[in-house]
Amino acid sequence: MLASQVIDRIRAFPPRMTEFTKQFWWGLASGDFQTTRCDGCERLTFPPKPFCPHCWSEGVRWVPLSGRGKLYSQTVVHAAPMVFQEETPYRVGIVDLDEGLRIATRVLSETEPRLDTAVEIVVLQYRDGPLFAARPL
């Protein structure tokens, strides 16, 4: 179960949801961070996909992720697209999850975090739905 943080606004650029990815987004809203794993080659993928990108098997199942990892890199965006103007500056980064998956997300940290620092994934509960972010432990 991920920690969660309430954000009192709507998402600036909300992700689209499909019949398939709603499992991810609805799960996230209730604190679950999950993705798909191939029944055949057993490899994980992220974002979750209705097939395995490694062996193209269509036999995949949802599995929980620990929500723990290391910060591979990060930056602060000062010049942002129109819809993010109210949020600038904001920090984003790349996280290597403990399960061996690389993801990109927001980073919650007032100060510049050292790279390779341990982070946890948290849920950002916007008024219109969830996003996620990484926070140094």
Binding site: R16, S73, V76, V77, A80, M82
Partner: protein, 397 residues
């Protein structure tokens, strides 16, 4: 039988803010602008328009109102063609892909004279609006864009990782901007030509940490036309020309980040494409006299120059600060001024790289001439160098 490809003529528009706001009474339009560049390029090649049989365009930005631009220009310039008339698109690699497609028509004997050409007008569209498009081109719309990644935010994260892994510094990276502006001061078609100091670079407003305004590409408009021919035509022309010696391509099968964690700043695509291009050309990185790389930010010039073997891994920024990649140094990089100072009209940027190499390899680069330059390398990319297209060019005088 395959045919050797040569660049016999070329012309470009100086990079600048040419586009007028949408509500301006008098507009500067893409087709009028590009036509002049095409006529100049053909005059440079010394060929008649009736010899052209293929047109390969870099697709314009979506802001260009005239759609199906390629077929419009075939009419505007009265250019019947037996090879092909097409537009290609592939992010920052667009113009290099157009170059490839034109070259392929010559290699396969479908054309003896092919134009690789295009125009990129975008500067009157505000950056905050433009980024609403570009953020969707450099990341997953549902799993990256909602967090606010911008195209150059990925490069900024390359910079942070590079500084961390190799004990480099923002100052070393910023030396690339100073060097490139010095080069641009000698280039009449460059967008920014007034020399700048390291302190001025460091004092600019932050854009994506650790990069400031002078370490990221400016916005600008450009147009270019390369006249590509069967080398037999170049030989009989009696003019100096550039021969395409080798090419290499690699797409790593990832978009911005590899979901299987890898060494992001090794730029594996540039490594693989570079090796393939050198191999086809029968040369090594040590044989290269100068490089004109697709490098929107300072860090990318450093990483690409390392990946192409021009400087040792982890030392590119320091060696730039020491002058190794400057005009007069061991391996001059971005003698045009690069994307920060020559300018970056993205869909045609690689055309400008080929143009600079043609000027250099035919001895026409004036004050910024690399003495005795014979072999040059150029690269183009998309994403965060997730794919690279590399060419080795040789001057024949």
């Amino acid at each position: 039988m395959t045919h050797n490809v040569a660049i016999l003529g070329a012309a470009v528009l100086p990079v600048a803010k040419w586009q007028k706001p949408r509500d301006a009474d008098v507009q500067v339009l893409e087709h009028e602008t590009l036509a002049k560049v095409v006529i100049a390029a053909m005059a440079d090649a010394g060929l008649d328009k009736s010899e052209i049989s293929s047109l390969v365009f870099a697709q314009p930005r979506p802001y260009t109102q005239q759609k199906y631009f390629a077929t419009f220009i075939a009419n505007y310039l009265r250019l019947p063609c037996t090879g092909t008339v097409q537009e290609v698109l592939g992010n920052g690699m667009t113009a290099a892909l157009a170059f490839e497609a034109a070259a392929n028509d010559i290699r396969l004997g479908k054309s003896q004279v092919a134009l690789a050409l295009g125009i990129n007008f975008e500067s009157a569209v505000p950056a905050v609006e433009h980024m609403m498009n570009s953020m969707k081109a450099t990341g997953d719309v549902d799993f990256h864009a909602p967090f606010g990644f911008t195209p150059i935010s990925w490069y900024a994260m390359d910079a942070a990782r590079y500084i961390y892994e190799f004990s480099s510094s923002r100052e070393e990276l910023a030396s690339v901007s100073v060097k490139n502006r010095r080069h641009a001061s000698l280039n009449p078609i460059a967008q920014f030509r007034k020399p700048i100091t390291l302190n001025e670079v460091l004092a600019q407003k932050p854009i994506v940490d650790p990069l400031g305004l002078y370490e990221v590409p400016p916005r600008g408009d450009g147009a270019a036309c390369l006249v590509m021919v069967d080398e037999e035509i170049a030989k009989v022309s009696g003019k100096p020309y550039v021969r395409v010696r080798g090419r290499g391509f690699f797409h790593e099968g990832a978009h911005q980040i590899n979901e299987v964690p890898n060494d992001m700043i090794a730029l594996v695509s540039a490594q693989r494409a570079g090796q393939a291009a050198y191999s086809e050309a029968g040369v090594t990185a040590d044989d290269i006299d100068l490089a004109e790389l697709y490098a929107p930010c300072t860090i990318i010039e450093v990483l690409a120059s390392e990946a192409l073997g021009l400087v040792p891994r982890g030392q590119g920024a320091r060696l730039c600060a020491e002058g190794v990649t400057s005009l007069g140094g061991r391996i001059p990089i971005a003698t045009s001024g690069g994307l920060q100072s020559r300018g970056h009209p993205a869909h045609v940027t690689p055309f400008y790289s080929f143009f600079e190499l043609k000027e250099q390899l035919t001895g026409r680069a004036g004050e910024r001439q690399v003495k005795g330059a014979r072999l040059g390398v150029t690269s183009a990319e998309l994403g965060n160098y997730n794919a690279a297209l590399v060419h080795v060019l040789e001057g024949v005088q």
